[in-house]
Symmetry: C3
Subunit: 180 residues, 3 copies
C-alpha cells in the first residue's frame, strides 16, 4: 500500500471518529419540574434506549425535585434548605402539570386518563429506564442551591451527581440533544 | 487499486453515510401550546425549509391542540375526551401566550403588532410550511390521551400521526434538533 | 498514487468537512425571559466556552428583555413600543423566576442563596461570557415586535442583531443545540 494513501486514510478515520455529534447517543437536560415535561423526558428517554441509543439525562433546577425520595429524610439542613425542601415537590409522584393544573384537577385527570389508556406512569418509566441503562445525573450546583443532599435521592441504578461540564462532554458527542 | 485500500475506503464511506446527525435536516418537538412558542416553532421551521433543510415537526402534548380544526366536529367521544376538548384551545387561532396573556390582552396586543409590522400570522406560516414541504407529525399517544381524533385535525399536506420512535429516527439523522 | 484512490480520498475529505453538525460548537436559542432559564443558558454557555467550544446565543422573544440596558433610554417610540417597554423586565436584573416567583419572594430567595453559595450572578456570567468570546445575537424580528431599539441594548463585546437564518446557519454546523 502506498504510504501517502495509508496516512491519508488514517487521518480521515481519526477525524471521523473524533467528529463531534457522531455518536448514536441522546443527551437531555431535564430542567422543568412539571409532570407533563417530566413524562415527555422519560418517554423520549426510554424510547431512544429501546431503539439502541445511549441515553444521558441531566436533571437540573426544578427538575431535580423529581429525583427526591419522599421516604428518605435527611437532617442537618439549613433554614433555607428546609424552606426549599417544603416548597418543592417531594418526589416524582407529587409533580404537577406546568399548565392546566387547575388546583390539582388537571393533574388528576391526566393521571386517571393515563391509567385508563394503559400509558406507563412516571414510576413505571423510571423502572424501564433503569432496565435499559438510561444514565441519570443530578446537577451538583442545583442540588447545592436547593439544599438537596445526595442521600435523599431515589434509588436508581448508576445515579450520579455531576457538574455542567460532564453533561456538555456527553452532549457534544451525542447526535441528539434536547433541553426540556 | 490495492484491495486493502479499496476496502478501507468503502468502510470509511459507509461510516460517513451512516453517521448520526449528518443530514441537512431539522427535527423539532413542538410540546408547548403557547402562541409565542408555536410562532417560534413555525418561524424556525419555515426559515430552515427556505434554506434548503428538510424539516420535521412532531407535535406532542399541549402542542397537538394547535393542529385541531375548529370547523371539524367528531362524535363518539368519551366524557373525558369531551372535557379535554372543551378545555384545550380549539385550533391555532385560539392559542394564548404562555406568559403575559393578561386575560387575553397580551395575546391581542401581540397579534395586533404582528399585523402592523407585517409579520406572518400562524395561519400564514402553516401555508408557507406546507408549500415548503415541512413535514408535520401529530403524536399518537398525546392524541389518544386527550381524546383527539385523526378526523378533527387540520387539512395539511402529508400530515401524519406517529409514535415517538418515528420522531427519534428523524432526530438522530438531523443536524439540528429542538424541543419547544 | 492511483488516481481513483486520490479522487475517492478527496471526495471523502470534502464530505467530512462539509458534514453538518460536525463543528465543536454550541448554538442556543434563548427564548424564555425567566431568571431561572436565563441563568441556565448562561451557565451552559460559559461552561461550554471554558471547554473550548465556540458558543452562539440567539436571544429571541421574551429572552430579548434580558439584553436591555436600564440606564439607556431611547425616545421616538410608538405607543405600543412604550407599552411593551413598560410591561417587560428592564434588563437582566429585573428578571423573575418562571415558576415559584411568589410575588418576588422566590426570586429574592434564589438570589440570596446564589450569593451565599458563591454561585455567579447573571451579571457576572455575562462578564465571563464576554471574556470567553461567547457570541450574542439579538433576534431582529422580536426587537421590532417589542419595539426595542439597538441603542437600548447592553454593552457587550460583539453583540449583533440578526435574523433567524443567521442563527440556523450556526445551528446546523454545531454539534450541540438547545432551545431554552
Amino acid at each position: 500500500m502506498n504510504v501517502n494513501v495509508e496516512t491519508e486514510l488514517a487521518t480521515l478515520k481519526e477525524k471521523l471518529e473524533a467528529m463531534p455529534g457522531g455518536e448514536n447517543k441522546l443527551t437531555m437536560i431535564v430542567f422543568s419540574g412539571g409532570l407533563d415535561k417530566q413524562l415527555a423526558a422519560m418517554i423520549i428517554a426510554t424510547g431512544a434506549a429501546a431503539m439502541g441509543m445511549e441515553v444521558i439525562l441531566f436533571f437540573t433546577f426544578w427538575g431535580t425535585a423529581a429525583l427526591r425520595d419522599p421516604a428518605k429524610r435527611v437532617g442537618g439542613k439549613s433554614f433555607m434548605g428546609k424552606m426549599f425542601g417544603m416548597m418543592l415537590p417531594k418526589g416524582r409522584d407529587k409533580l404537577k402539570l406546568s399548565q392546566m393544573n387547575m388546583a390539582g384537577m388537571g393533574t388528576s385527570m391526566l393521571k386517571g386518563l393515563m391509567q385508563k389508556k394503559h400509558v406507563a406512569s412516571l414510576s413505571e418509566l423510571y423502572e424501564v429506564a433503569g432496565q435499559l441503562s438510561v444514565k441519570i445525573y443530578a446537577c451538583e450546583m442545583s442540588m447545592d442551591l436547593m439544599g438537596f443532599k445526595r442521600e435523599e435521592l431515589i434509588d436508581y441504578p448508576g445515579l450520579e451527581v455531576c457538574g455542567v461540564a460532564t453533561m456538555l462532554a456527553h452532549a457534544k458527542e451525542s447526535s441528539v440533544q434536547f433541553f426540556i
